[in-house]
Amino acid sequence: MTGKSMIAMALFLTVSLSGLVLSLSHSEIPSAAAQSSISHSERPVIDQLNQQFRQHYSERELEPARLANSLTVARRLSLGLMGTIPSLEDVRTLESLPEEERIAWWLEQVLQDRRSADYLAERFARSFVGTEDGPFLVYRRRRFVTWLSDQLHANQPYDQIVCSLISDTGLWTDSPAVNFITVTNDVNDDDQPDAERLAARTTRAFLGVRLDCVQCHDDNLDGKWVQQDFHQLAAFFCEAESSLLGIRDKENAEYRYKYLHATDEQLVEPAVPFGADLLDQVRQSQPGNRRQLLAKWVTHQDNQPFARLMVNRIWALLFGRPLVEPIDSVPLNGPFPPGLELLAADFAQHGYDVRRLIRVIALSDVFQRDSQADNASELMEEQWALFPLSRLRPEQVSGSVVQASSLKTIDAESHILVKLIRAGEKNEFIKRYGDAGEDEYTNRPGTIPQRLLMMNGKLVQERTKDDLLFNASTRIARLSKNNQTCVEAAFLTTLTRRPSADELAYFMNRLETSDQSRSQVLEDLFWVLLNSTEFSWNH
């Protein structure tokens, strides 16, 4: 086959496929088994969660917003767990199901999708190891993220993942979890893991305690922490040693530190800042080296701060805003917002099953509340009676633009060429849009360069221009039966919703009266949709 005829064939195939998607028919109806895959054991805790929030609203005399429709919730799930939006193909499949089954079914699709593990792994990695390149050779961030993604995809219990991070030994290539340790190797000094940075990371990333505040001086802001608390925890990491054989534990290593106002350095024995009894219990039942002990203590079922922080993280991923702010500082003794203790206990009792935790939150009423209400107010939003608006992160925006240009889902099954082109485009876009760095949750307005990039940038231009092979806008223009399906398909592809009556009338009129070609009007419509507030914000 010549190159030309191959392109013609590809064109024919893609166009035919688009036609299928556009014309509402679909070959793959979800099976009943898939639909009912939600475990019934989750129902009671979801009910309790709903009850806690109902009480929370009533104590504040708040009338919560109604539940959002299933497409809105599906969009939230895709953005929060995969960093992209549902394709038109996904929407068609969803709509073939009864309304009440759609969200649970879609949630399972997302959880099983490799894109979800990849996305979550990258987001978690930002909290675990940051975004830096780290020490040359002994730190492999890419390898670390892939490992984390594999763990999440296999739904490994979260406590096991964290145990590996804190206490694994071996080479950064063969035992990727040790990159948690090697990222702190001090290249200026002795090329050894930095116990202080590890202590700071451990408390922030896994316990939601900002113990590093007392690294240099006792807490001077009404807190109870003292410098010793930090350095005693750091002492757990002093045995970690880096060599050509990777990370191992050197017996009898000592941690010494000169405290503020002290005259001499002193030997610091390992101790935990809270839950000392639990540590004793762990020491007796599961003896091990210092890092192993710490790992068992951190992830112990009775160490509630560990579960609470993960609940806060998953909540933040789904809602775009953590339940407790800032995300890595959860009070040890409360007061806790509604839901937190319930979810943390359920998470610990069910073997730190991350997917279960996601399901419980995602299937609750509080997640499915609408972000619009007649009586919408700041207070309602603050108290979770209204789904909070949050600005999308750069990778969510680029993921959404790329997906919105295709009628079919772009995932692991997509043609390698399509994936490669899209990955390149996304990286370039994220660089320009401004990466949000570590795990940041802010509600700042967007910036001028972001708007310029969306209005005039290459990605939006490339993905909306008249291009029958690659772009949804062109295919919709050519293949839609009439102007109404045309406008509807454009809205569903970009905003995951149908146009309002006013919007439909307005854009149908543009199609009917414009002296431009139909493809051009659709290109303009896509530009408008992608440049709307609605597209750039989670809602």
């Binding site: 830096e132 040359f136 202080e196 690294q215 941690y255 608006l389 700042r444 530009w527 609605e534």
Partner: protein
């Protein structure tokens, strides 16, 4: 066991929720307007202060020994020779011949120290004057200057990064609007500045947004656009910028060849010329990046190549500004995230070295023709307390532009944050 600090605990205590909430709602910077007023007044009263900063960012960390701090005839030179300069007694490494002729306007600080040896962390440290802190993103020097100094008649971004490397300069807690605006080789014009369709179509597109914005705003917060998203406001500002005549500063196609040639036919050279033109229309801080200095292998070869780009561009920039009487108004700073090890590794490379590296300063109020501080010819580390910490360079530059370096900005909950924790270096600037 180390006893050095990792994070200064102070900032950790800032109540982030309140802080960010304040930011989100205000949409514009929330920090003391008094500072701005004072700075404005200062600018009017002292015409002698520089108004802009051009940062020549040597991405990857250049070797001090092959650039601003040669040690000829010592083992650590590893064969690199030195040349004399227009400033008596101040040597530069071979290959810096054009800059050598301008040394009367250049000061070198040769004992800069930091505690960061990882690229990303060190870039953060050198750009912001603070070490990375998980609770807070500090603003870079350019962001602080834009925040503290008046806007004037500038319609285009006042903080610009030409050829940005991996870690862009950010506005941090001052707000994303102070992030550096990223641009690339000036030969290709400003990115994303032209609409992709003709005026009529573009106007129609903008008009068509109204109906979508109307739908989105219904049944939401009463002042969604004003207090939260600022979406259309930002679009309008972006459109104003697209039509600004000041953009011409970036367009080198109209610049005569004789002005362009001295900068060298490189993207970095063109970036330097564009930077000079941008400061003339009121841009506060332009960062121009020259990448590739991370010479773990073949250090000398890499440096020889990059000096051929840096030397003409840096020297031409000083001459260009001087010829237009703009050198006093423009402070030029050249440096990277750290220096490189005095001892060569087996691959003929030099590794990361934050223990005594060099920064060059020119123009503005800089007392040129001098080299401050020294590194050790035997390759020893400059001890932290005998070197010049990077934050002192920050404090000195802020002070030089009339910004009170140790100014404490008040957050909404009354926590103080200093613009810089550094001390002003005496003798570096004319007072």
């Amino acid at each position: 066991m180390k006893t050095e600090k990792y994070t200064c605990g102070q900032l950790d205590h800032v109540h982030r929720r309140t802080l960010l909430k304040g930011l989100g709602l205000a949409g514009i910077s929330w920090l003391t307007p008094l500072a701005q007023a004072l700075a404005q007044q200062d600018e009017h009263s002292k015409q002698q202060r520089p108004k802009s900063v051009i940062l020549l960012w040597m991405d990857g960390g250049p070797s001090q020994l092959e650039t601003f701090d040669p040690q000829p005839n010592h083992a650590i030179a590893a064969g690199t020779e030195a040349i004399s300069t227009a400033a008596k007694g101040v040597l530069l490494a071979q290959g810096m011949g054009q800059l050598a002729e301008e040394m009367q306007d250049v000061a070198l600080v040769r004992s800069v120290v930091s505690k960061e040896g990882d690229h990303e962390r060190a870039m953060y440290n050198v750009r912001t004057g603070y070490r990375p802190d998980p609770t807070l993103v500090h603003p870079s020097l350019g962001a602080i200057l834009c925040h503290q100094l008046p806007v004037g008649a500038t319609e285009i971004p006042r903080h610009i990064s030409i050829l940005p490397g991996g870690s862009p300069s950010r506005g941090g807690y001052l707000g994303d609007e102070f992030d550096a605006f990223k641009t690339y080789d000036p030969q290709h014009g400003l990115p994303d500045m032209k609409a992709r369709v003709d005026d009529d179509r573009q106007q129609q597109r903008t008009k068509d947004l109204d109906i979508l914005e109307h739908t989105f705003a219904s049944n939401r917060l009463a002042k969604l656009e004003e207090t939260r998203t600022l979406h259309m406001h930002t679009i309008r500002n972006a459109q104003r910028m697209m039509t600004s005549e000041q953009l011409a500063a970036f367009d080198l196609s109209q610049v005569p060849e004789r002005e362009k040639t001295p900068f060298g036919d490189t993207e970095f050279g063109r970036g330097c010329l564009a930077a000079a033109r941008l400061t003339e229309v009121g841009v506060r801080c332009v960062e121009v990046t020259l990448s590739g200095w991370d010479s773990h292998v073949n250090n000398h070869g890499i440096h020889d190549g990059l000096k051929k780009v840096l030397d003409p561009a840096f020297a031409a920039l000083i001459r260009y500004l001087r010829d237009r009487d703009q050198l006093r108004n423009t402070l030029v700073l050249c440096g990277g995230e750290f220096g490189r090890t005095p001892h060569m590794n087996p691959a003929g490379g030099r590794d990361h070295w934050p223990h005594g590296f060099s920064v060059a300063l020119a123009g503005g109020n800089v007392v040129g023709g001098q080299a401050m501080g020294g590194s050790h010819a035997d390759g020893r580390k400059v001890k932290f307390d005998e070197g010049i910490p990077i934050e002192n360079i920050h404090a000195t530059i802020l002070d030089s532009l009339g910004v009170q370096a140790n100014l404490e900005l008040q957050t909404p909950i009354g926590r103080p944050i200093k613009l810089s924790e550094g001390k002003i270096i005496t003798g570096l600037m004319q007072t």
